[in-house]
């Protein structure tokens, strides 16, 4: 039985603003690809929050209360956003991080 992560998410996390800004601002996306640390510096991320982003540790992010819908979008911002390629890689890597298993194992 999986319980809903939605109702226990933490709306105050700064990572949510990061993902929403990245979606809305192509220039920021470009800066993020070129200099991720520089972009992360602009947000009041907690230490563990920032480390989890850097390590692509979605399980840690979700455990600290990141909203999963924005988690899915963060995975696409990192690994790719095109339907037939990057987005599939993003889903696979996200699921692997959350479950500890690679797809197909």
């Amino acid at each position: 039985m999986t319980t809903s992560r939605l109702k226990s998410y933490d709306p105050s996390l700064a990572v949510h603003d990061l993902v929403q800004d990245l979606k809305w601002d192509p220039d920021l996306r470009e800066a993020f690809a070129r200099d991720e640390a520089g972009v992360l510096d602009r947000y009041p991320l907690q230490g563990a929050e920032r480390l989890a982003i850097e390590k692509r540790d979605f399980k840690a992010l979700y455990d600290m209360g990141m909203h999963p819908y924005l988690g899915g979008q963060l995975s696409r911002l990192i690994w790719g956003n095109d339907a037939g390629g990057g987005a599939i890689l993003a889903v696979n890597n996200l699921v692997a991080s959350l479950t500890g298993k690679r797809q197909g194992e």
Partner: protein, 294 residues
């Protein structure tokens, strides 16, 4: 006195667009037939406006300032928004809006105690509006569309009872506030079972989907309100299945009536079950808001 002349619920899975060509023929056929029916039956119903309720997916408002319902008042709606283009893989589109209808809905909801937000400028559309418009070629019909983006995933979420009340208010506005003889088509866009961003991203709950499609077509709204709970939908895929609250808004507007489905398709790469329902409205839908005992 306006009138509801068409009502449907249909999922908007983005992968269904980008990965359509790679899907098996039987899956393609169900998707194709469902959107073809959507297009043909809307056309036959000759509406003056199409109102679509759909999950906003955190695309237009900060998660820390998130409205339950947000109506687009613009004279034209364009999509998909830039970042969603490669992800959905659909064509660009532009479809007329209807500022007067949107203003009437805005005013009408507020006066009926329902907090609706309104955006006079451009909204960012992802799969929510882009999939039904492009897969159903709604932009070729020449009928204006009014989008109402809905909070299905950011707590506190308007759940089934509230969504049904919003639908009843919508019916009331159509009947009382809209211009006389205005013909209205309604679409609830979202679902079926899926878990975007979750550990069960690839899990589709076929049993739930088939149960829901039967329920939606049954016209038994007492059961809808009792059984289509947040918890049940979350168990069938967190953060995605709850988009079916958009269908509940439409059910609230039509009141109980039976529907037709065009088959159910399951395909792992879509990461979501697919099946649509078009409801058969009573001629004139005399008392659309009254609830018939099941």
């Amino acid at each position: 006195m306006g009138e509801i002349v068409f009502a449907a619920g249909i999922p908007h899975l983005p992968a269904m667009v980008g990965l359509y060509d790679r899907a098996p023929p039987d899956v393609q056929a169900i998707v194709h037939n469902s959107f073809e029916a959507l297009h043909a039956e809307i056309k036959a119903a000759r509406p003056d406006v199409i109102i679509v309720f759909a999950n906003d997916h955190l695309a237009n408002s900060r998660i820390r300032g998130y409205p339950d319902f947000l109506i687009g008042m613009a004279d034209e709606h364009r999509g998909p928004h830039e970042w969603f283009k490669p992800w959905i893989g659909c064509r660009d589109y532009a479809i007329k809006g209807d500022r007067n209808v949107a203003a009437t809905l805005f005013r009408g909801m507020i006066r009926r105690g329902i907090r609706l937000f309104a955006e006079p400028g451009a909204l960012k559309f992802d799969d929510n509006i882009s999939v039904p418009v492009t897969m159903g070629n709604l932009d070729s019909l020449g009928i204006p569309l009014v989008p109402v983006l809905q909070n299905c995933i950011v707590p506190p979420i308007p759940e089934q009872q509230r969504c049904y009340e919003v639908g009843q208010a919508l019916a009331d506005i159509i009947e009382i506030d809209l211009a006389p003889d205005m013909r209205v088509a309604l679409i609830g866009s979202g679902g079926l079972s899926h878990e975007p961003g979750g550990s069960r991203y690839y899990v589709i709950d076929e049993a739930f989907d088939r149960w829901f499609l039967d329920l939606a077509a049954s016209g038994d709204h007492d059961r809808v309100l009792k059984e289509l709970t947040f918890e049940r939908m979350e168990a069938s895929g967190s953060g995605g299945t709850v988009e079916l609250f958009s269908w509940v808004v439409i059910m609230g507007a039509t009141g109980p009536c039976k529907g037709r489905s065009f088959g159910y398709a399951i395909h792992r790469d879509f990461r979501c079950g697919f099946g649509a329902v078009i409801w058969d409205l009573e001629p004139q839908t005399a008392q659309p808001r009254e609830q018939v005992p099941a």
